[in-house]
């Protein structure tokens, strides 16, 4: 079973449009991480959320963790071709020891 459900699996948006990616767990999280991966490359850390209700922004990307610490959303405002890639959420889930789980990823394509 997948510990972290990520949706949608893929997104194709026109440049300038806003978009949202969701990451959901059935269990409470210690914290939630968002990563971006360019095709064929390693992961780049975007941001970490640890407190319920926390929201962080970096340039045009905003991520929020819900109060129950079971769901996070990543929102991109006015998307650009440079935002294209695979977005992965990752989390350390309470009760699972040192294991770290990832969502299945969301592939984002931004059309100029």
């Amino acid at each position: 079973s997948q510990e972290l459900e990520q949706s949608p699996q893929s997104l194709i948006v026109q440049e300038g449009k806003n978009l949202t990616i969701n990451c959901t767990s059935s269990k409470t999280l210690y914290g939630l991480y968002w990563y971006k991966q360019k095709y064929g490359e390693g992961l780049i850390f975007l941001m970490m959320l640890q407190k319920g209700g926390e929201e962080k922004s970096h340039e045009k990307i905003t991520a929020k963790l819900d109060e129950k610490k079971q769901q996070s959303s990543l929102h991109i405002t006015a998307s650009q071709p440079s935002h294209a890639g695979i977005y992965l959420c990752g989390a350390d889930i309470i009760g699972t020891g040192n294991q770290f789980y990832f969502g299945t990823g969301t592939s984002l394509t931004v059309i100029p």
Binding site: G40, E41, D92, N98, Y101, T104
Partner: protein, 115 residues
């Protein structure tokens, strides 16, 4: 970029042969991890290490073994490669207590094909 290097970057091997992938770090981080990435499954943890000679299994450890004889190197061995182990393998390092308390750095990945 964080000092983490994976080698080789690409490898093609035959079924039944042993394969070793290397992860080398220059950050002196305590924690090191091996993941595999497959379509539809995202990243799955194979094994991780929390110190020299201290390792533990992840969710997909069957068919893999690891060793960490010094802080900077974490080796992943496929004892007898199978086609189901064709994947992209990522190494990660972190300084904190588990991957969650501090930023984790990832290698560039190793694309392994078992024919």
């Amino acid at each position: 970029d964080a000092g983490i290097t994976q080698s080789p970057r690409h490898k093609v091997t035959e079924t039944g042969t042993p394969v070793t992938l290397r992860c080398h770090q220059t950050e002196n981080h305590r924690y090191m991890y091996w993941y595999r990435q497959d379509p539809g499954h995202g990243l799955r943890l194979i094994h991780y290490s929390y110190g020299v000679k201290d390792t533990d299994k992840g969710e997909v450890s069957d068919g893999y073994s690891v060793s960490r004889s010094k802080t900077e190197d974490f080796l992943l061995t496929l004892e007898s490669a199978t086609s189901s182990q064709t994947s992209v393998y990522f190494c990660a390092i972190s300084a904190g207590t588990g991957i969650m308390n501090t930023e984790a750095f990832f290698g560039q990945g190793t694309r392994l094909t078992v024919v």
